[in-house]
Amino acid sequence: MLEAYGSALAYLFGNPSSFLLIIFSVIWGIAFGSVPGLTGIVGVALLIPFTFVFDPTAGLLLLSGVYVGSTFGGSISAILFNTPGSPEAACTALDGYPMAKKGQAGKALGIALASSAIGGIFGTIVLMLLAPPMAQFALNFGPAEYFALAVLGITAISAIGGGSILKGLVAGLLGLGIATVGLDPITGTERYTFGNLSLLTGISFVPAIIGTFALAEVLQRAGEKTSTAEVITDVSTKLPSMKEFMETRFTLLRSSSIGAVIGALPGVGATTAAFISYSEAVRWSKRPQDFGTGVAEGIAAPESANNSAVGGSMIPLLALGIPGSATTAVMLGGLTIHGIIPGPLLMETNTQLVYTVFIGMFIANILMLIFGIRAARYFALVLKAPYALVGPAIVVLCMTGVYALNSNIVDVGVMLAMGAFGFLLRKLRYPIASFVIGLVLGPIAERSLRQGLVISDYDYWDFVSRPITAVLLIASLLSLIYGFYGQWKRHRQDRGSPAATG
């Protein structure tokens, strides 16, 4: 293993240009991540033709750097404009933007950046040390386990939102329900398309979150009386102090671990990891009702998890040749073009490539910290511009990004509809967090439940009696009860105090 790292270092220092490649790729990734609609997948896919110029190692360094950068990049626009630049960052907007609105944009960005770097490095270390055993562990996750994992995330809805429990549940169910539009994942039947073939795609996640977050926010700001006055001040990004860091250390550790494990599972990636770790952060918090109002853990949890998931999703790719996420699937295609056959033998036959990428991802995470601060400062300049220009520009950027992503005007329509819907939900105080969690985890829950039922021949007992499933489901049930109890208790306390009425 040391020998392998030796040859990797020899490669990097033998090709100093590879450092330039990493620098470029991280900047490209951050830029791609921060533009709404342009996801990391597109950023990676567009660079594949350029990797022809380089050897496979340099090519993979380039692609993995983009992956690292894009995962963080989305959180800048999520925090500053409530516009998640990439789906991975949707969860960051839940607490990041409220914190920025409280006048602490700099702090929010600092937490996001520090958590991203910590999560990213954590994920890379797991990848370096544990790739083969982790890949084997991930193979124990069948549909039943995926289902239980999704349920665990969904049940956190009961603890989210300081307001009404029932509204939280309805918002979550709305998310789950909207996710069922389109082609059925098992039978291929058309559902809720009402004969309209353009709805077969269903409600795609990217347009949906951009609508619910960004568009709804522009509408909200349009209605505010003080739209000329600056709402967000203090955007000088600073990393959290040691004291602040220590306060979130458990959250960081828990979320990074969740991120690495979920990242390693094929088919689910950074976005799922971010939402599940957010759910867990709410569940483990002493003040769950404060989530959504701009708490540090609400930013640290998703950001460390989604970046950790980047390293995690490289695990099955490098150890088994199975991509752990949509982005790594594109990377796999890129490797094939270079004549490299991804599979379990990759780590033996292409040792130098694999270990160079390990080191490269490590460097990329550190570079992300450096460039992230700069990028955030540039973005923050936009806040100085009058909202009469910025607001419409955000609308244009969202429309363009969503259209360009898939050249599908229906997606743009979905975004608009979801924007109006998100605005309505917000006005009526239905928690957006629950709604989005339902939207993200709903498809995973449904698909895996029904796959699992087909495999077990519709034997529900066989389905739930698997060890990992049983543990996860029992944990969900307990937390559901505990969540309701906590909300009920708070509700009673609130009723007791006269200040909370009205």
Binding site: G188, T189, L200, G343, Q451
Partner: protein, 319 residues
Amino acid sequence: MLSLKITTIAAVVAGMSIAAPAALAEDYPSRTIEVIHSYGPGGGTDRFVRAVAVPFEEISGQSMVPISIQGGGGMPAFANFQQRRVDGYTLMAISPDQIIAHALGRISMDAFQPLARVQYDQGMIVVPADSPFQTIEEFIAHARENPGDLTVGITGAAGFDDTVMGLWNIETGAEVTTVPFGSSEMVSNTLGGQVDAMHEEYGPARGLIDSGDMRPLVVFSDERLPVLPDVPTAVELGYDVTLGRWRAFAMPADADPAHVETLYGLISEAVASDAYQEVQEQAALQFRSELLDPEEFQAFIEEEIEVYTRVLDALGLLN
């Protein structure tokens, strides 16, 4: 006032460009060719178009770019294709998915002028290394005795994989249950033993086959693969299952025949180039990828429609 000006400018411009093509007919293609497809950026079809585009650009001097319009069983991509002007600069990369959409009555293959079928892949039934089944005969025998007991992972619902396995069930009479997954989950669920086998092409599975983690039992092709000389074909065993995933170019049905001819010439040259052939080999697609010209391709499509319609009907997917 403003709109009046715009209309005037636009009218002038329009006049120019309508006059233009007639004068420049020999110069076709004179700008970028856009190829619509219904898969993700960086996916198999996207890479296929890009692989053809590189030599195409050298030969014709014009670039070719893939446009990815994902999801919805290919419907949004098809809608976009149909909305575009028929000027010879819009192609669509088609595959068995369009045949299936045709059989399901969602689109009509008559909307296409077949241009060139380029790639033709072959699927396999693959089992994990610790599977009790060493040969396809054992696999079939078990399925005969316990209909529906064996689970086979496939990619996508009511799509290409479903049709292949449906045909396999019809031909062998030994019924297996298909479980639809996303492509990477299908592999991990098979490796992890959640399902008994999977249907996968040779290219993506070869890493796991080479390492001994997976074992192919049967190939859906006319001849054995030179790289897997010990794996029998379904045809050898007496089951006529040769359906494979193919990738091809098509133009709109009312495309100018001169354009079809010119473009086929350019594409066939591009496909014959070393640059393309190398990419094709790296993706392990060379075994039966034979270029079909517009007429051969049209005949091929008609055969495919017949087979797919029969199988989908048997699966109960046609109303």
